[in-house]
Amino acid sequence: MMKWNLYSRGDKFFAIVVSILIGMFTVATLYPFIYIAAVSFSSGFAAQAGKVVITPIDATMEAYGFILKDPQFWISYRNTFIYTIGGTIMSMLFIIPGAYALSRPQLKGRRFFNLFIAFTMWFNAGLIPFFLNMRDLNLLDSMFGIILAFAVNAFNIILLRNFFEAIPQSFEEAARMDGANDFQVLWKVFVPLSKPAIATITLFCIVSRWNGFFWAMVLLQSEEKIPLQVFLRHTIATLSDDDEFAIVQTAAGFSAETVTAAIIVCSIVPVLIVYPFIQKYFEKGILLGGVKE
């Protein structure tokens, strides 16, 4: 990029306009989060009257007090951790060896297997057959079912396979001549060489597990198994419909709005903590997934 003082007046004007537009979009992106945080720390009356704009009004922690006292909040928070960690490990157990095998030129039927996997990106049986299948497999209302049934997807396998294929053949050959078998080649050479790609996929897995909602809602019935997102949904849905809650609880210093906002804040915080660490990976990662047979 050129130096600022080499710019013409027109270009300087243009650059300033661009910076302002970017600034506006950035603020627009950020504002809803700030607004929600402000609501979560406001009093129920202030929130209900729509007084909160950017800072908490009549600042209070009542809404958080209400949530943190709810045992179901902690149960579902714990469950989300179980689904996220267990699910991510399960994904890696399938994806890493699978992608390695698919990347090996000596694999017989490689084209077929690749097509077998890619086909599921283009054609999907849909909600109903998937649900009935889960029922037939006796995986309804099962934590293990959730962890296993969403462990693999074609995109992640193909992404890692592409990365493995780009590793020069001679790394594998050198390891083989040194006496390594496939498991050793994978574990001692390919995995260390693929840290960025594996980090990216781990990140995708973690995010999708943390945020997973629909199937958890459909498949899980027991309250002690539901993840945070389902709990959050239940709470939002019941609070906003429950007139009695509105009357009784607002007197206590919180309202449906502030409680909802508080749960949102509680479930975003872990994402915000991890986010700076993962940012450098996903920018590269989504480009890896590209475009190749």
């Binding site: 001679s170 050959e173 050198a174 040194d178 390594a180 001692k188």
Partner: protein, 358 residues
């Protein structure tokens, strides 16, 4: 016999045959260089010896043991790759130890082995470094070290110097030669660089198009190329090749009859290719030489010598001449003198060397 023995080795990918059945015996402790243009099958041949490519047909033995179906790790061979294949996540010591750990060598034994080899290669100060922090020549040494620590029966080199710049290449070339003299391990070395082949080899194997063109010591190949391909491949600049017809006393090329030392006998009238090495001609007429008139195009000084680019009839020719510190006297050259006994003849049709009157 011990050493490496290839007999009738063929490599085919589907219907496409890239190595057409080659026979080669590599004696124990011998340094053999496979040389040829890219795509000639030399790397494929090496990789078949390594076990990285399946052998389609033919027999490969190492120390009299059939190796066709033996896994690479069990062939007791080590290979130095063109791109070195050093693991970027391991330091120099761990890179060299990789194979030994996989083979479950005891820790202290690994340590002494690594230290010894690092000493030989001058890598001792760098054992803790990652490959990314090494220079090209150091990486090359680590790649060799990784092969040496295994004490294999055979070293395989796949164009190990082609990623280095010219100066380092010369230096590492000498180092490889010294190492071989010291360790005395049977080695097969693949390169496309004829200078490397000439300097390193006990014997050179010239390959072209999946076939062996000629096998011999560097000087045999230089002095007596078996065909025009070898003649044109070895030597820099390559041998001049001029179309001609044999006469009773020599070879008639456009405008000139080159005198030959041997007797032409019943070959009179045969179409030939006359081969003249650039360095064999002189500027002064000598005993038993033929004067070849040339039209000088260009003089390229190299220092002690100069290259004379010239035309004779339709042929573009290159000759070498001493400068004696000055090239001014070369710009007026009108003819060069060809010594009869150094002229090579090849059959125009088959390209094979002709030996007259022998």
């Amino acid at each position: 016999m011990s050493g490496v023995n290839l007999s009738g080795i063929v490599k085919a990918y589907g219907a496409v045959q890239v190595v057409h059945g080659i026979d080669l015996e590599v004696a124990e402790k011998e340094f053999v260089v496979l040389v040829g243009p890219s795509g000639c099958g030399k790397s494929t041949t090496l990789r078949m010896v390594a076990g990285l490519e399946e052998i389609t047909a033919g027999e490969l033995t190492i120390d009299d043991r059939r190796m066709n179906r033996v896994a690479p790790k069990d062939r007791d061979v080590a290979m130095v790759f063109q791109n070195y294949a050093l693991y970027p996540h391991l330091n120099v010591a761990d890179n060299m130890a990789f194979g030994l750990r996989i083979r479950k060598m005891p820790k202290d034994e690994i340590k002494t082995t690594i230290d010894d080899v690092a000493e030989i290669l001058g890598l001792t100060p760098y054992l803790d470094r990652r490959p990314a922090d090494l220079s090209g020549g150091q990486r090359q040494r680590v790649a060799m070290g990784r092969a040496i620590v295994r004490h294999p029966k055979v070293f395989l080199f796949d164009e190990p110097l082609s990623n280095l710049d010219a100066k380092l290449r010369t230096q590492m070339r000498a180092e490889i030669k010294r190492l071989h003299n010291r360790l005395g391990v049977t080695s097969i070395y693949v390169t496309h660089d004829q200078v490397e082949a000439m300097t390193l080899a006990d014997r050179i194997v010239v390959m072209n198009d999946g076939n062996i063109e000629q096998v011999g010591t560097p000087m045999e190949l230089f002095n007596d190329p078996a065909n025009v391909f070898v003649a044109g491949f070895l030597g820099s600049p390559p041998m001049n090749q001029i179309k001609g017809v044999l006469t009773a006393t020599g070879a008639q090329i456009e405008g000139t009859e080159i005198k030959l030392s041997g007797a032409v006998n019943d070959n009179v009238g045969r179409d030939v290719i006359v081969g003249i090495r650039p360095e064999h001609v002189t500027l002064e007429a000598g005993e038993d030489t033929t004067a070849l008139p040339i039209a000088l195009d260009l003089v390229e000084p190299l220092g002690s010598e100069a290259l004379l680019h010239a035309r004779s009839g339709d042929d573009n020719l290159v000759f070498k001449a001493d400068t004696n510190g000055d090239i001014a006297h070369l710009s007026g050259v009108k003819e060069v003198h060809v010594p009869s006994h150094l002229v090579k003849l090849f059959d125009a049709e088959t390209g094979r060397a002709l030996n007259l009157g022998a």
